[in-house]
Each structure stands twice: as C-alpha cells, then as structure tokens.
Symmetry: C2
Subunit: 608 residues, 2 copies
C-alpha cells in the first residue's frame, strides 16, 4: 500500500508515530513561515504542516501545490496547538518530512465543498469531481449500507438472491421497452426488463419459495422529474403465503432498516384501503405525517344560494389547524395557487374560525354563521383554525384537494424530513381504463390496463365481477368504453408501501391458475394468440404445479433518498442520466458506426 493510514483515523493517541498518507489537497494556508494543508480522502481530513525553518525546500514545494493535487506524504503525528473540534482528526497534525506529488490537477470547475458553487449541469458533466464532495459520497455510502443490511435481513429469512436475465423478450403491454437488436438472430430483438416479474414467478414455480434480487430495471419513458431510464429495485417473491405474510415480512425489513441504518424505531405500520386513501386524502399515497383529512361537506354546503356548490359533485373541506390568522394576501395567494393548471381548481373558499369564536368566510353572502358552524363541526375545526373548501367533479377535486393538503402541510411545517410515517395501502383496483398514456404504445390506448400488472390476482370476493366481464366480452356486448363498468372495478390483492407520501414499493398476490390468467389477458384485450406468443411460457409453467405466490418490489433509489432525507433520487445514483436520458459526462447515447449498423442489419430511418 502507498499509505499506512487514512486521512480519517489518526487521533491524539497516535502522536509521535511516523505515518504515510495519500490524498487530495482540500485547501492550503500560508501563515508566516508555516504552511498548512488539509489532505482529504474518503475517510476524512488530516492537517499537514510545513515550516520554512524546518525545511525551506519542502515548505516551498508545499506552497506551490494547487487544490486537488494528489499527494503521498510521510511525517510524524504531532499534537495541534489549535485543535479543531469539528473534525475527528482535529487534535493532531502531521509534520511532513517527505512529500511526493502523485498527480497534479487543473483547477476544478467548481469547489469541492458541500456547499459548492457548481450548478447542476456542470456537476453532472464533471460527476467524477462532484462525487468527491462529502455529501454525495455519504449518499452512496448510505446506499451501500442499505443494500448490505437488506441482504442480511433477507438472507436470514432464507431468501435466496437469484440473478435473472437482462436480455429478455419484449412485452410492451405496460411502459415502453428498451430493445437490443440481435446480430446472431437477424431481425430479432431482445428487450431490457422493466422488472424481473415473469422470471421471479417462474422461480416460484421452480420451488425457490423465497427469492430476492437487488436488480437494475429499465423503462423507456418520457422522463418526468426524478425518473431514470435505468433504476434499481429490491425485487422479492414468496410462495405458500397470503397477503398479510408478505406485508409482515417487508414491514419487518423496513423496521430493520430504520433501526440498523438510522437507529429509529418505527411503530406497526397501519393498513388503509385504496378507497379510504382516495376518500380521506385524495391520493393513493397519502403523506400521513399529518392528519388534515379531506372532509366531505356535501351535506352541509348544498341547498343554499351558492350555485357553484350546488352544482358540484363533491365539496371538500380541509381544516388547517391554527391557520385562522392567514392574511387576506396569503389567502389570495393560495387561491391563485389552486387555480394554476397543475392543480386545476376553479377557486377556493375559506372560513376563518377566529379566536373570539366567530366565523368569517369568503361566502358570507350565501351562508349564515350558523351554517358555517356546521361546516366547522363536520371538519372538527377549533378556534384559530382555517377551513379551506374546494368543489368540483369528484375525481378532479380530490386530486386538487390532495395537492392543497400537501402544500398546506409544507407551509405549516407538518412535513418534517426527520419524521417518518409509513402506511400500507391495500385493495387497489385490478384494472383501469387506458385513455391514452404518453408512456405506452398508442395502439394500447382505449383498452383496459392492469393497474399493477397483468399477473395480479383479483380479490376472491370480486372474482364474480371478472366472470361477468368475461361473459360480456365473449358476448361482445361491452361498449367501446366500459369505464364505469357497473360502477364496480374488481379489486386486486395488491398493495403499496408508502412512506411520507412517497410510494416506496408495491406488489401483489399473483394469479397461479392458468384459466384465471387467461381471463385476465382476455380482459386486457390480448387475443389468445398474442397471450400465447408473449406469455405462453408462463401459462405453460402454470400447468406444471404452480404454487400460490406473491411478492413485492421496492424502489431502491427512492428508498435510499428517503433514508437520506432528500427529495431527489439523483444524488443517490453514482452516474445518473438527465431528463433527456443522457449521460452528459460520457456523452451517451451517441452515434454508432455504419459497420455496427450493417452487422445488425438495421438502418436509420431516412429523415423526410
């Protein structure tokens, strides 16, 4: 080794030892005849000291060193006069006797500090320098720790990690696949997996009974903020279990990770149905760090002269605790906020429940104080609270109310990054109508779409809905757009784990019966031939003794950023891509040679 110690480990007990360190020049200061250099490596900072009186040549050499030069130094550990209590190695410094420059450095394009002066784009172009910053490095160390502890937990429970293939078959029923032309099988393509779904189910058919994998997955989406074309999942599957077994096993994983990684004890995680989540939070991933539920005010708001409310399908109240003192300016601003197209409300009604017990609203013209008292009662509002009311179509207004709720949570400081609230959302709808989604092929719109995926099992008590849908499909009496299928969509044995309003993962009990799987494909609009062509191997596997099974996948990037208390996943990925799917550091994707295209027997489409 070129060093005896790291820059993070020397302490007062090491004084008078001769050591050799390697690292980068973090900063350097000349004070009179002395030169001090902070030498940095992954483990910390150690101060080097040079003195013109001790060795003038060496000291002059030290003075010529620039930021980020790579050094190897040998010297003696001495006690510091001015100890730095903020650094673990702050009690000592190294009196350097030998200095070797291992490499020089140009001046970096931004400062290598937590609080850097580099903008996002510059940092990404020079990601190898950005990764030198302690905060980014710590994020990746956290990621490593979570991965190790996840494996420890699952290994102890007899889960076996099995690598599933990356070059698989295109099954574009969900999001778009990335495809890979095959040179050896002309005109054919592999696809990169959106998840190892079918393989983990086959492993269950094989009897592996407890599988996991921390695995890269791929989705060719139009990237929204904080989505990556390649992302990592903790992917798991179990046999001979029921939904509660899976929930308990992975609740156990979260409890274990919170404890070992963050030393936080989290309580038993509550379960909430999708229907309840939508009703109370307008959202299938509610942030339960704070209450402020959506209150149905239809019964107390309708029947007066206020047409906006009378005509609305749903009137929703939110009670912002202690916010009665919001100024008119603040309320106007909130009103503008909900009217933005992203939120889409037509307006915002407020009721101040003032400290003197009176109620003051923006609709005093239509509602008496007696009326408003009733609102306050239904909302469980107290003196000093502010009630905000939205009205409109059920679906849209719930969404708007959910956004307003989260915004109020932010403004009222109810969304503390150091507080964690976990929730299981269960009983998701099995299917949803695809109106046309920019992330799936256009040919798939105007069809039922699996909410989770096509292998998810319906709830037993809703199987009758599946059967009646199938009868109607076979009798061809379903209309073009059966959105409100008898107002009932079958529910699935599907669940999401939500932490602080972020979906960390989800899963389901799978279908393990060929006939039921066939019916699902039928509802999803696959012809028998298509189903056989794309998923024949799975349907065949179900003929040979498939066990009852189910599983879950956790978004590993998201899990890490949640543990790191960050909003963005990008700084928890060593080499992320930007919103156009580009790696700006290596400049990929890029053109390939005509020779490569020729060998693959593909051509770029002529631009018109």
């Amino acid at each position: 080794m070129l060093r005896t110690n790291t820059c993070g480990e020397l302490r007062i007990e090491d004084v008078s030892k001769e050591v050799t360190l390697c690292g980068w020049v973090q900063k350097s200061r000349d004070l009179g005849g002395m030169t001090f250099i902070d030498l940095r490596d992954r483990y910390g900072l150690t101060q080097l000291v040079f003195n013109l009186d001790w060795d003038s040549n060496l000291c002059k050499q030290a003075r010529a060193l620039g930021r980020e030069f790579v050094l190897q130094i040998t010297g003696t550990v001495i006690e510091r006069e001015n100890k730095n209590k903020n650094t673990p190695s702050g009690d000592i410094e190294i009196k350097v006797s030998v200095l070797t420059i291992l490499n020089s450095s140009l001046t970096p394009p931004f400062t290598i500090e937590d609080d850097t002066d580099g903008g996002d784009e510059l940092r990404m172009k020079y990601r190898y320098l950005d990764l030198r910053r302690a905060m980014v490095r710590k994020n990746l160390e956290l990621r490593h720790r979570i991965a190790i502890e996840t494996r420890n937990y699952l290994d102890k429970l007899n889960f076996i990690e099995v690598e599933t293939p990356v070059l698989i078959k295109s099954t574009p029923e969900g999001a778009r696949d990335f495809v890979v032309p095959s040179r050896m099988n002309k005109n054919q393509f592999y696809a990169l997996p959106q998840s190892p779904q079918t393989f983990k189910q086959l492993l269950m058919v094989s009897g592996f009974d407890r599988y996991y994998q921390i695995v890269k997955c791929f989705r060719d989406e139009d990237l929204r903020a904080d989505r990556q074309p390649e992302f990592t999942q903790i992917d798991c599957e179990m046999s001979f279990v029921e939904q509660e077994d899976i929930l308990n096993t992975f609740e156990g994983l979260l409890v274990y990770l919170f404890k070992t990684v963050k030393n936080i004890d989290i309580p038993k995680i509550p379960r909430m149905s999708y229907a309840q989540a939508m009703k109370h939070y307008g959202n299938d991933k509610p942030d339960t760090r704070f209450e402020m539920k959506l209150i149905d005010l239809n019964s107390v708001c309708k029947g007066k002269n206020f047409n906006l409310f009378n005509e609305a399908e749903l009137i929703i109240g939110l009670c912002a605790t202690g916010a009665a003192e919001y100024t008119r300016k603040q309320l106007d601003e909130l009103t503008e906020w909900v009217k933005r197209p992203q939120i889409g409300a037509s307006g915002l009604v407020y009721v101040r429940y003032q400290n003197d017990g009176t109620l003051k609203s923006s609709v005093d013209k239509f509602y008496s104080e007696e009326d408003l008292k009733k609102w306050a009662e239904v909302c469980d509002a107290k003196k000093g609270d502010l009630i905000l009311v939205l009205a409109g179509n059920k679906h849209e207004i719930r969404k708007a109310a959910s956004e307003l709720r989260l915004e109020l949570g932010n403004r009222l400081g109810l969304r503390d990054k150091n507080k964690f609230s976990c929730l299981w959302v269960v009983d998701f709808p099995l299917i949803e109508w695809n109106e046309g989604d920019p992330n799936v092929l256009a040919s798939l719109s105007g069809r039922w779409h699996a909410k989770h995926h096509p292998f998810t099992s319906p709830k037993k008590e809703d199987l009758y809905i599946i059967n009646s849908m199938i009868s109607e499909i076979r009798e061809e009496i379903i209309a073009d757009r059966p959105m409100n299928y008898k107002v009932q969509i079958p529910r699935a044995m599907a669940y999401d784990i939500v932490v602080n309003g972020v979906e960390i993962g989800g899963g389901s009990i799978r279908i393990h019966n060929k006939d039921l799987q066939g019916k699902m494909f039928e509802i999803l609009g696959f012809s028998k031939e298509e189903a056989q062509k794309q998923f024949g191997f799975l349907m065949n596997a179900f003929e040979f003794g498939a066990p009852p099974h189910g599983g879950i996948a956790l978004g590993f990037d998201r899990l890490c950023s949640m543990f790191g208390g960050a909003d963005s996943i990008r700084d928890f990925i060593a080499f992320p891509k930007n919103n156009s799917g580009r790696d700006v550091m290596i400049d990929a994707p890029s053109e390939i040679s005509a020779e490569q295209l020729d060998e693959l027997e593909i051509e770029l489409k002529k631009q018109p």
Copy 2:
C-alpha cells in the same frame, strides 16, 4: 403462512406435533392399504402416510395425486418404522389428516431427479422444471452463498459497492457491444457495458478508493461453448496500491471463500510470469494440479539424422510419470489425437523408459540408447516413465504440447475436481497484433490490440519500448505489420488468477497519467479525435488529480462452477442462453412490432 414447517426440518424430536406442510409430490407408492407420498420443497423431502383404515376417502384422494401436484397437508408427526438414513427427515413421517390440492400438474416432460431423463434442449425449454432438481437448485444456492461471502469479505475491508450504469456509450475497440437505440435521442444508441472499466476508474478519480460490484456485463460474441452473452463479474478497483497489494487482497478473498464455502485451506498462491507459463506449460493459464512441464529438448535432439527435429524451431518433451507401459495401441491413438486439426501436431515421438532401465523409442533408427538417456536426463524421467516428444514452430508446438499435457493429465487421473491449485500469472504482454478476430469489428484488424485493455499500465522498466514505438509511429517508419517489434513487446502490470487451468479473473494496474494514456491510444491506432470522442471524459478526468489505481475482475459464473466442481457454467445460471444467444424458454430474442421500430426510427435492412 400456508405452512408451519418446511419439508426439510422435522426430526424425531418433533414426533406428535401437529404440522402443516406445503410442497410438490415427488413420488407416491401404494403398499396394501397404505399410501406413501414423498412431499418435496426447497428444503428437503418429508414422507406423508395415508391408510385406508384410518380414512378411506382421504387415502383414495391421495392415490389419485400425480407427480408434481402441489399440496398443502396437515397432520401429526409420527416415528417411521423403516427409517431412511439418507434423508435428514428420514426418521419421521406425517400421518395426514387434511389434504388440500393447491394446484394440479401435467406429467412433466422429464423426471425431476438428479439423474434426469431430460436432454439439454428439453431441460432448457422447461427450465422452470429443471430448476426443481436438487442439483441445479444447490448450484444456485452455492452461487448465492459465494455472493454473500464475497460481499462480507469486501465490506469488512471497506470496499463500497457502487452501481455503475448499464446504458452507456459504445466503444467498440474490444469485443462487439450490444447496442440500444434511443427513442428520445434520435439516431443515437446506448451500449451495454462489456465491463464497468471506465466507471470504476472514474470512481477512483472521485476518491472512492475501494470499489466493488457484482455486476452483469455483456458481450456480443459468436458464442463459443460455455460463453454467455450476459455474464456476471465481481468487479473491483483500489487506489493508492501497487500490484502486490491487489494480488494479496484478492488472494485473501479466494482463501476466505475456499474456507467459508468449502472448508478448504488453500496455501499461499505462487506467482509465475507469462513468459514462464508459456515456456513451461505452453499456456497462460496452466493447470498446476500436476507438474509435467514442457521440456526444451533442442539441445539433446538436434544434430542427428532426424530431419523433422533438425528443422524444427522447438522440440518439446513431456514426461508422463509411470506411463511406460502404455501399449502400442494407446500410443498410436495418442498420435492420432495430436494430429487432429484442433491440436495440429504433425506427429508424436515416444520414448519408453522401461522398468529394466532400457529405453525404447519410436525413433530408434536415429537415436542411440545413449542419446535417449540424455533426453531422459533432461526430462528428469525415471524408470517406468514415458517421454512424449513434439516438434514444430515454437508458437504452434507449445500450444499443441499444452493440449497434450492436459489430455495426459486427464488420462493419468491427475486432474482431480476436488483438488484446487491456484496460480497468479503476471507480466502479461501489453499489446498483441490483431490478425483479424471474429469477435471484433473487421475494421479493427491489422492493428495493435490491448491484450488486457487500453487502460493497462506498462511495466515501468518497459516504458522505453512504448516511447520508441511512439517515435517510430510518429515518424511513420513502422511497417504494415510490426509483429516482431524488435522482438520485444512491452510487458504490462497485468495479472490473471488461474485455478486448475481455468482463468477465474484478471486485472491490472491502470494508467493514471493523461500523456501515457494518450500514447497508448496512439499505439492502438486511435486518432486523437477518436480517442477524444470515445474516451475524452476519462482523459479529462485524469487532468484533475487521478490517483494511482488498479483492479481486478473475477468471472462470477466461472468462479461458481469451479466451486461446484463443474466444467460448465450453464447450470450455475438460473436462466442461461444457448449457443445462439437464445433463451429457448421465453423464446427471445423475437420480432418487435412495426410501431416499436417506427418510434425508434429504425428499419430492418431489406434482405436482397
């Protein structure tokens, strides 16, 4: 859970417990009024017993069960009358009271036994059934165990696992890349990594100092036997180290794995130079489980009337201990064996050192017994040994002698799968002349090629050769084919780890200096523009304080098969591809839709 216990854990101590098990019907036997079923899961086998007298309906139901049906049973653990000492659960059986068929099964296309009647192709098509066989399952369990222990070892040494991207940039200087058309960046392609080489070097520039990753890599090769288009590496890199530090660290990993996984103590691993390996074994990955070195017989064979030897560049002797009694028939057969085109020798001379001390050869016409004595001396042959002699051009005849040596090793039982001999081969040539390799683009032939990869550092003492090559390239005086460049090829700080004649991994100290890296690209025939376009990011990174670094990558599939005592890697991969790169189970690669091609703006080349 649908079970209280697994099929592998019940013992005599559990007698009289009521248990519920789930599993597959392995086999079933009717004996008089009794029916016995072996129920199988991942953990073992447990015998179920039914009796017409106890419950005739239940017993009849049991008799109707087919192989591979999935059952859930509840019953009482009882002591077996005829204990089966070959099964851990062989002391007990379950008197079943409740039987639930969780799923039925068609008759599998082959038997689910270690010694199956299924051929390779059938097993791959029904891989999910093949994986039910205990021996295949154990291979994957071994793989999981090796991965876990590898991570434990490296984690303790402060290595951090960092995930590098899978969608990267095509740099087809080595083997062919798989490419991925980008929909969002028209006419551009990602490539799948052949290794995370440049990323791990960038991580060193970032100061991560000890990196590892168990990672999928991809190579679009014409598949030889036992190669896979996607394969897994244990990929590692270290900073502030010299070659010996890396060798010792990963020797430590092997020692640790052999101990924890196989409970074998392996001795200190010797180092051998590439030149020595080629001289003594004719092979850069010698099987050192047995000696039988290649002996240079030029000094004792030349100068007689045997023209074949006189004209040969090199005469090689192999001493097969105790093989003097090989019959004429065996020797004729060996002669035919070396004359096969794969081996390519023109013939084989033998000398029997008979037990009575006389020597008998196939070239008695040309060589006296006195001459042959000298051969025997040089070969260190003893009475009872057989000397086999090959002659020809140095390069070809060493290769042939190496093959013959391995074949003799097999025939003499010297290659025991339960014995392990490890070796570091060091000082590999830095470059080699590319004559035209089916696995690289045709446009790259007739150039120097990096033997390890373009980032490998030359040995310090051979830098002068690099410099004189560069001068000559710049003066354009190097001829078209400088194969015998002053008979000297610069040596690299590159090393392979070889176990039982199989290369398990290799690595090198890397270049960390931009100028030297530029020279390497120049020798490899890159123009400045090409080098900048493909590797500019790395060259730029070297400007900002790159530390001295080096690393290694171990072939994980190969490592697992070696630990499993198998020749083929295929049964250590859950879902392998065949020799045409196809997954015959899912039938991939496959055609994709016109809509997908359109979106990617590519076209299949019209077939003429």
